[in-house]
Symmetry: D2
Subunit: 339 residues, 4 copies
């Protein structure tokens, strides 16, 4: 970490700063420049509060040389993390496709979708029981009952299941869930992340709408610091000024995350765009640039056809996406070993 001091720093404040840094076992190496003095900090600086440092009267700026995350950092864990889930795995060369409906609506629905997506090659089943909705007046999910239906579909198809937790009080219901999802809006719900660090379950963290890649990695670090190293990262679009799509899918995040961390990185093209016909080209693009998998909404409601055309695909359209993705897959980007 480098601290750039302002001109003529107050002596007493500088002494205080030096003392504080040394109390954290950080050695300080000053260099006098023409106009500024620079302090090189050597030691474990991951616990140093960079905002606090930057805010000191005598400090002009602070620059990290090392990333603030350790467990998630590829520099310290060169090999890809592989997370076994049921008969399959996340990461380590297996391309995971997690498919299913946005909301679990009925046993008939979730089981039919599960069978369909399995037939098309999905490796895991998703389905929402607890639903984060912007409006208190919108459908909030079947909750506990939804989880039961999801587990029925798991038993019927053998597909491992992924579903979202919204609050710690729900955790006791997640015993048979294979992968616990933390939604974009809870990406910085630090109390939740901490507690999930004490479970033995894989945790899939979705990137928040306005969160940087470093913040996403710090959220993974929260889980990992608790001892749970089974974390999967999911890019699902960020909030920008563009209104043609619901969010802006940031595919640069895929190769960049793969370089910064050893954790599996997947992409959710359904939520990013909110437009069903865009799922296919963006799933193909995500595959091409090296994602470890996809998360795709698939819906099946033959009675009303109300949701045709939503961000959810029909099972037929999903099958078409799978074929296109599978054609790209053998040619997809693989980062060189030495990054």
């Amino acid at each position: 970490m480098i601290v750039i001091l302002k001109k003529n720093p107050d002596e007493k404040q500088l002494k205080n700063l030096m003392g504080w840094l040394e109390s954290m076992n950080i050695s300080v190496h000053p260099t006098e420049g023409k106009t500024h003095t620079i302090l090189g900090l050597v030691g474990d600086t991951s616990a140093v509060d960079i905002d606090l440092l930057r805010a000191l009267d005598i400090v002009a700026d602070v620059k990290r040389v090392q990333e603030p995350y350790k467990n998630a950092n590829r520099k310290f864990h060169e090999d890809d993390t592989v997370i076994p889930v049921g008969q399959t795995q996340l990461g380590g060369g297996v391309f995971s496709v997690i498919a299913g409906p946005c909301s679990i609506e009925s046993e008939e629905q979730i089981c039919a979708v599960a069978q369909a997506v399995k037939a098309s090659g999905a490796t895991m089943l998703r389905g929402g029981a607890f639903k984060p909705r912007t409006s208190p007046y919108a459908f909030q999910g079947l909750r506990g009952h939804g989880l039961e239906l999801l587990l029925k579909a798991k038993r019927m198809t053998g597909l491992p299941v992924v579903t979202e937790i919204m609050d710690l009080s729900q955790l006791e219901l997640f015993d048979e869930v294979d992968v616990i999802q933390v939604g974009a809006r809870n990406m910085q719900n630090f109390e939740l992340l901490k507690e999930l660090g004490h479970t033995g379950k894989p945790i899939l963290i979705k990137r928040g709408l306005a969160n940087t890649l470093q913040e996403l990695l710090m959220s993974a670090e929260y889980v990992m610091a608790g001892g749970n190293h089974q974390v999967i990262l999911c890019e699902r679009g960020i909030r920008t000024f563009e209104t043609a799509t619901r969010n802006t899918l940031d595919l640069s995040a895929v190769p960049m995350l793969k370089k910064l961390t050893h954790l599996p990185v997947i992409v959710d093209p359904s939520h990013a765009t909110g437009i069903s016909w865009m799922v296919k080209p963006l799933a193909m693009a995500a595959t091409a640039c090296g994602a470890d998998g996809l998360m795709i909404e698939v819906h099946n409601d033959p009675k009303s056809a109300l949701c045709d055309g939503a961000q959810s695909l029909t099972p037929e359209a999903f099958d078409d996406v799978m074929q296109s993705v599978n054609a790209i897959l053998p040619h997809a980007f693989k980062a060189p070993k030495e990054v």
Copy 2:
């Protein structure tokens, strides 16, 4: 609500849509245009899922005519909400200044700051016991013990206290807290908001870093839908591309929120900029454009002076801000009754 249909909509899907809308007691008034058919929906459309509607195959676009929030909507509650807190109140013509340290560190610290800010005219005391920190390795607050210290300062000074809750499991500790704060990162923690709707306490909701004003109002609606109408909104900066300040304070939010809702609206210039010397001009600007109050970080650590210059002001600098704000206050913007 207006639904614009695509050209030549599929008959069966249109019939399904009509049936679904009517099942929600919404009457549908179609108008044939030259190229498009428009459906006018009349009835209580606040429960209609606009994203779902927009995603239908036969729908080109959907436009709300009425806002999706009811309890928070000034159209249905013309008079300003006034929230009594101890001997003071939020809203209703009283200008509230909520001041105190970012983190509660010791009894000595919180009591000294409390006395100082009271002397300068603060109406309420703030202090963080549970701290949301980006890094798991950063100080997480004194937690339960911090709350105890805050309540000591309350008893000593008589100032009502505001402090942040991070998880529902902490709620039992908030009995003597006067106003419960929901932080920016939890603005869409819907389970938390729902539960807070069943407390009898005023809830101060900070705008999320990437949340629109409508989303902020919908989060207020979550609390209010549970029966708790004592909600305060706080603008504290949004995330943009600009890097000169930590966030971009959106002061347009103040007059706009005051027009859209009857709830009190306050501004936090400390977190928005992250720079102590900017607190004064932005506090003055927030006052000028009609905010109902301010939330300002004040710190006091004479021993180390470590935090001098942080986003926190010293008690002396806070006193100077108060004088400048008080000079602006009599001339501040007041919205005309009928806007």
Copy 3:
């Protein structure tokens, strides 16, 4: 176009509005709702100033049903535009790779790069003579002399050339240039666009850093309204809060633009990320989701190796990108005819 009136609109203002619309040969179809009146406007509404309309006292909101662009609109021109350039073409099933250095530095440099990229399969040569630089103290390009060197490389290799114009006064120098580029910072330099609409040359427009897809299409419309229908659109990253990459490449733009317009759409992964090793995965992703081509920076300076590792690739690295892109190409997304 739909105009939603406020409750109880002022009679006189409404009459004025009606008269103004009818003076533009737009017929007005009112529908009385329970709380609002809606006006359906029928006729050529592309000249109606939507901001002006929205700003009227009596208007609650305005909604376009038709896009404000005509010439660029796929609805009115179903077939892909094909732009012949020298022996090659842009669009129409040919995948164009436009490669070359950021700045033209010397005859030796531009000719060496031109030969190298041609050997690897590039279809066109790029090189900057007039350089938009944030700082007045940075190198501003070789300007007229640079253009001469670029044309030498064109004659030597037979590759058509693309280069940026920064001001109308430079236009007379562009006679032998094959494609004129309008840079991101000039995307809304409307005087420049208008004049380029009177040239017979293909115009490549880069998306501005903070411009929506609709604004990009309106800039194309400026050129096309002048009679020049040879316009190519280029996605090159937008400005967001993320700092891990220089800009955020918006690949959703590719399938969305291909749906909205018949013009060729290419992607520049070099400028979007500013990081050379990211060019390959993002070039592959852009190809996979259906781009008509790529624009890639390639540099060659064996003497100093100063720029190794910049956003520019070496010729060897570019050759590797081409092979990976060519492997993806046969499997790339093709939009269904009727989207």
Copy 4:
């Protein structure tokens, strides 16, 4: 400037880098850290291309210690710049109010507005003759004829005039214009800025929709590097995700710019929000936080009343804004001398 090298940098590339820096008369002071080597660059680094440096293979990161602008930098010009304009001035303690219509429509209109705004206390007249419009089908301004009408209003009222230039070819028409405006979309039209640096006229530069404060200062630097030091900066809202207002007015920019530069800083609340009733509270806020002036749209069309309610105020509403602003003015923020 500080260059942080990657671990074990390639010897030859490091030597090249050292040679290149020394060829620019920059002395290099290396410091060996535990994991990284840091180079301190001493000398005039304003011409060093930071992006190029950052992109080198052996460089991990680069950090400026000094700002890249010199002429605009308050560090080198402590006193506020004062720009005399006719009988008035910009900066130096005079609060400037530049008012007038968006577009000049007729002699009657511009003269009536000019007289009205003068009577209410405006110090300068604005009016658009060349209009940047997103659509080629929208009204493009009266152009040369519009300028003539503006100058008539100037002669009638004695108010100095401000109007926008869109292309260098228009410059010859601006002889009697007092202040030349560069619009937000042309903020990085570097050829235009360079040429305006050779005029003797004050140049008012509006901040681009997605431009940082540093980029705004670099655009000022372009004009100043040509010898013209009469530059005024104007904050007018930036593009964010929020849709409740047209843009997000960034009032933090006012105190921050005043600290970074000695140039006058004004605020345009009309364009920032696009909503007429918001002009008043935001004009008051801009005044409170220390702006040197305001730019406000005022329209006058008694015949049609078509524009009532637009972002333009009526002369009556403008008069009301002036009174409110004048009440705030004596209490406005003044930065301490030593910042």
